[in-house]
Symmetry: C2
Subunit: 179 residues, 2 copies
């Protein structure tokens, strides 16, 4: 099973949904940490149905095809429950970090401007996530506690990014200047 499969099971564990709805649900808050297009989601749902982790109900759809509502099965819930406590795979892919390594291969002023922009964007996200968090319950027994945890990770991630990018921009502004 692919990670996307588990992402979909995570959403379906909260209630039945169509592929279209899952595409929207993937955007927030999961999308802050795992993105997927509908072209990837539809075939994955078919695979989940094939192995019995979800069941499908077909109704008349608005377009030429039937609308399909997916419901997680007991086997799907078990698979999710077994997957969750396992050590997560970390595959680092951050262009920001990569560019930092080569920072001296470009103009210092231009790179400072880049990191200032990155810092500003990160600060904006921190503020937005914080505002959302303020309206939510931080009770771990709340069924929506997962949303709270994800947003909180978003806050610390972007907070750190903002601090680092600000530091780097400041340092780059000093390039060529006397000590």
């Amino acid at each position: 099973m692919s990670t996307l499969g588990y992402a979909l099971l995570s959403l379906l564990a909260r209630g039945p949904a169509t592929g279209y709805e899952l595409t929207r649900l993937m955007k927030t808050p999961i999308g802050h940490f795992w993105v997927a297009q509908h072209s990837q989601i539809y075939p994955e749902l078919a695979r989940l149905a094939e192995i019995g982790h979800v069941v499908v109900r077909e109704d008349a759809g608005p377009g030429p095809r039937a609308k399909k509502t997916y419901t997680i099965t007991e086997s799907g819930r078990e698979a999710l429950t077994r997957w969750l406590p396992q050590p997560p795979a970390v595959v680092p892919r951050s262009e920001i970090g990569l560019k930092a390594y080569a920072v001296r291969s470009a103009d210092a002023g231009e790179m400072a401007a880049l990191y200032e922009a990155i810092a500003a964007e990160a600060a904006g996200k921190v503020a937005a996530y914080r505002q959302e968090l303020d309206q939510m319950s931080d009770d771990p027994d709340d069924p929506r506690f997962g949303n709270y945890a994800v947003l909180k990770l978003g806050v610390v991630s972007h907070q750190g990014m903002c601090e680092w990018a600000t530091w780097l921009a400041t340092r780059l502004r000093q390039v060529g200047s006397p000590t």
Copy 2:
């Protein structure tokens, strides 16, 4: 050009190297933010040579094939310099964040243990990176300043992860307990 191509150019901007050496060089510190296997690196180097961003020199190798040393060209440097100040693409893929969303679909105690392990690992990395940073120059005019910047990003990232995972583990230990 793919991101990996620019990653290789970033390394070659510091000096000529073979594919084998680049495979090792990708591991640290770049590898903390962008990983690549040799099976991906060798064909990418061939592509870079084809478009003239690097030149190859062949020498007798230890095995059945010639050893190839790659040197960045002026065109390669220019491509790198143009790429660096552009806004980096951010493609979120973090299993840790994904699992946080579904945290209530597994046993709270088991998940608490997971986040405690994640926090411990992150703390270890913070300590290791800090030790390395202490022996390095934070002068932005230093040619190895990029290494410093990357490690510093590693510190803030894992620092944030550690704090968050500790908070989450603590919260999960409260599940089912009275307020």
